[in-house]
Subunit: 349 residues, 4 copies
């Protein structure tokens, strides 16, 4: 008999729904008419919240999704003969179907890393051919915080990347699809993780942290975003009934909901790691830093496990899986999932 | 003393909020986890509804917004050295900040029209240079139904355009941002307005007809959409938590809500026209065919009117305004708006 | 019996070969080795000649062809959400297979004209939607001198266009594929036709005026061309053995060869017009201003004429032809061509 | 006292001029008028020569330069959401300022190699995510023959790559900027190196093998090039006075001039290697396979050597240089160059 499946999926944090407070904000925003495209009170308020959180008069534009946010943010920084230095595992390099290259015209210089994190010396190694018309000209360093491999940059590590970028006339972009999980894990505030270390542009993720949809592109120096409205519209990323994006962010940024959601997801991943680690045949690749658990399982158990409670295999060859927790993962879900994994792995070694 | 303003805006149908049944569907869809990107039951059901409505096994992909839907639909039909023949007043030509040119690489051949409607002979006139490598090659005819100028194509008119297109190896794209208003006004069903006349690709609008967000790209012949999933992702138009787009369409397509919403908006525009027509100093340009009223007002009244209840001036030089009704415009709103217009115009002739 | 055909074609000035002095320069440049891509003495000298001719320290980059020159010049001035205002008959709008839209991402706003010439008031009429994110933002006015319809702008007319452009933060681009014919016809020098009236970027044509290949993009203010080398390389317009492009320009700009060639072609067109005008059944559309003659001939004569000495029909419906003279058209060619036209037209009225 | 410098540069084979027979063909082609854009007898003849050489009715289009040829060839094979698998050292990846990404919209998947050569198993390793809309879809394998590192693929190695490509619905593109050197070194004919192993598209280089300018894009299966004329024009790669490109190719393909030129350049590189190898302090990296010699020299000698007879450093960190021979390098040049290297290295160890 199959073990009882958990009520939530561990496939990805975007399998979760909408946080109740966010849904409530959506319902509340559905009152009367409001001008479209951002000329509404919700957008003004959510923008102000972002500026408060960052402590600077950033330019903030909201977009539909994460790929769109990256495309808009990068496009504002780049001419088409320039290039982006990023980890080879970056979402922009691997998971956006070439949208950044297509839209910016630029080359992505994909740098292999051990752990999804780019190091300053790796950036420096790619700074050749500067001024040579035959070579694309590096202009942006792009990192993901937290990374696609569940790892974290410390503020000091970000500062070191910003320093090498700025010393070479490059800009630093942070893909913050899971910025909440990172800030929560670092036990910091957004300003100290983004503004103080010198990040130039941040895409602030909402969808993976409890929103129905919506991301924000934050230009710490508003001069960098001076054309962001045109770029966003041409990228087809300008939401029509904008109040419903803004209202969600208003809820997310109120009372630290974004950090509370993220902290909870991180805690559930820690619990899952704790429960998974002792299982015979399962190898935890490293202690989770945010809300993702990477583990090696017996190859024969891969299919039965995914059949039971769906997730994607991270690395088929290495028999490595990624399990993610979200804002609404419960302790009971984790316990049930760990118990099921133990039972299924035992049966398929 | 200023007249009492209506409770809804007549600026655009996207100033409206979300229809209660759609909001209810969103709340209902927020149950548990569901795989992202369309691998969910809501998407399957909404897709099936579209196929039922059309009577063909169309390929249907959902996108965030209307510009995105046009971009995805057109990109699937075009190579970059080809061209789109469209009215000069088309949304794709005027209101999308060049997104179609940017994303497809194609030239839009903008044809001036009297009433926003393209005629077969105008298409034929642009079919020169075929096979000549110096000229872009016309490949798509794109029309908007109902048009940006509030006019309508009859099914026969669409069939005539489809015929001239197909006879010349071109395809017919319909921007259906307000397809509901058109089908309601024609008192037809979707199949007879789209499939039977030979439309190849339709972008079916949801946002202007009561959705929070979400549009659908419908490839009547699924072979035309065989790469739509890649195109959509690269265009950054793939919603992550897709169930919330699909759930809205499920509600919209159920019990003819899309037609009921549209019919109501159209009726309110008819009422508004009736109330506006007799006002001294106001000239109704033509009887409204769908949910937009175009009128000439005294130049001196433009600013006071917009200050009182905001709308955009359609043609400053001609002193022409566009007033739009939406699914939630009430008769009381219309009466109040017409009364206010009369009062303000009287004071500013 | 068919009349004797002329030894040169009147189809286009690019049917001509290479001026002997240019060919000689090519042969002379084939001495020993020279570094590629412009790091050679010929390129330095030809660049200096351009600066002398213009009287300013312009940035000058050489390209392969005319479409490439336009693409490089425009790309340096434009962000993809901007637009180019140009006559609907412009080469960039009609004859470059969409290369400008494709490469810059921008929309071309094609303005219908009577005579191929844009007027300041037509530019002003297109300056709406400025600052509105839904609309492409006009940034460049592009004119052709002499135009595709064989007409000319006076320096004062160019200055008026430059003034309206600059007053609205736009730049003025001149497609000078036939700039030699224009300057010769105006009996001016390049500085007074380009620099003094305020042109920002000129593409200076060589191919149609006696070169084997090669065009120059001239940024009057070198700051506008600061990225031209990267743009040119990415546009695949960087000639490898550059000395052979530069050597040709060196010959063309020496001893006013470019003006002498152009003057001759213009004179031959004037002679042709004189000979053609009296022919029964042939209507000269207007006296030629440069090297093109536009005439209406009997429809029945179109095919026999082109069969006899090939040219393209300019407007099939109107039965209008364009006949062009080049630097090597002789008086005997003109007399023979006119005689043949008379004979064939007489036989096909 | 400095040693006598050679009369030719060893910097690159594009520092050479034009082969006398090619120049003669250019002079001979300058007779009378010919229609532009390829509607001339030279183009017909050169195209026929290519087809004879290949033994198939290939589609052949001529372009200005090598980057342009690659861009046109690749664009014909690719949709923008697809990808190209190529060695990280490929010219398209490193030396074209991002033109391929910019023009095709596609991602280049740059695969690190030891020797500039891609292996079938490396291709297979990149064939993941097929059918997954989040990932670019590999569609083309691109190799360079001979490679940028002076190495060669055997026909069997090319066949193995073609097999793995075709088995996975990919196409094989060969950048043949130095295809002559490769075919000469293999002592084969073009058919056995290109057609028989299954290459789909070849860019056949002329400029580095004695032409003034001009490359050819060869679609072995003409169906792949069905849109090549439009793609070429939109890429601004359509030469106007085409006869002068075609006349050069006619000369190059006559009497095996392309192979004789290449064979000579290869032989000079072999001689150079022989002379360089015994020099104390100079390490030949590997015996030259074509016309490039890669050697490690004392770091202190780099600048003095380049000051004496210019070349580019290949790898500053490793103190590796690339010296290239061309069709016109003489034995005396080689002897003088080797002697100078010996003397300068001896003085700077």
């Amino acid at each position: 008999m199959a073990p009882e499946a958990p009520h939530t999926l561990f496939a990805s944090d975007n399998a979760a729904g909408v946080h109740p407070a966010v849904l409530e904000a959506l319902v509340a925003a559905n009152q009367g008419h409001a001008l479209a495209y951002g000329a509404d009170a919700w957008t003004a308020r959510a923008t102000a919240q972002f500026r408060d959180l960052l402590g600077v008069d950033a330019e903030v534009v909201f977009t539909w999704g994460g790929t769109g946010a990256n495309v808009v943010g990068l496009q504002c920084l780049l001419a088409p003969w320039q290039a982006v230095i990023c980890p080879a595992s970056a979402h922009i390099a691997v998971d956006e179907c070439g949208a950044p290259e297509r839209f910016t015209g630029c080359k992505l210089i994909d740098v292999p890393t051990e752990d999804g994190k780019l190091r300053p010396e790796q950036v420096e190694r790619e700074l050749h051919g500067v001024g040579d018309e035959h070579h694309v000209q590096p202009r942006v360093v792009s990192i993901t915080q937290s990374t696609e491999m569940g790892t974290l940059y410390s503020p000091a590590e970000i500062a070191a990347l910003a320093d090498v970028a700025h010393a070479n006339s490059l800009l630093l972009h942070v893909d913050g699809a899971r910025i909440g999980n990172a800030v929560a894990a670092l036990d910091e505030d957004l300003r100290r993780v983004i503004v103080d270390p010198g990040v130039d542009v941040l895409t602030f993720g909402g969808t993976k942290n409890g929103l129905m949809y919506g991301e924000a592109v934050v230009f710490v120096d508003p001069a960098l975003g001076v054309n962001a409205h045109f770029v966003r519209k041409q990228a087809a990323q300008l939401p029509s009934k904008m109040r419903f994006v803004a209202a969600q962010f208003e809820a997310l940024l109120s009372d630290d909901l974004w950090l509370r959601n993220a902290r909870h997801a991180n805690a559930m991943a820690a619990l899952l790691a704790e429960r998974i680690a002792p299982i015979d045949g399962v190898e935890l690749l490293h202690p989770p830093q945010v809300n993702a658990v990477f583990a090696r399982v017996p190859a024969a158990a891969l299919a039965p496990l995914a059949d039971w409670s769906f997730f994607w295999v991270w690395d088929q060859e290495q028999s490595v899986v990624r399990w993610m927790c979200s804002f609404d993962t419960t302790e009971a879900d984790v316990e049930r999932f760990a118990a099921g994994v133990a039972e299924i792995v035992a049966a398929h070694r």
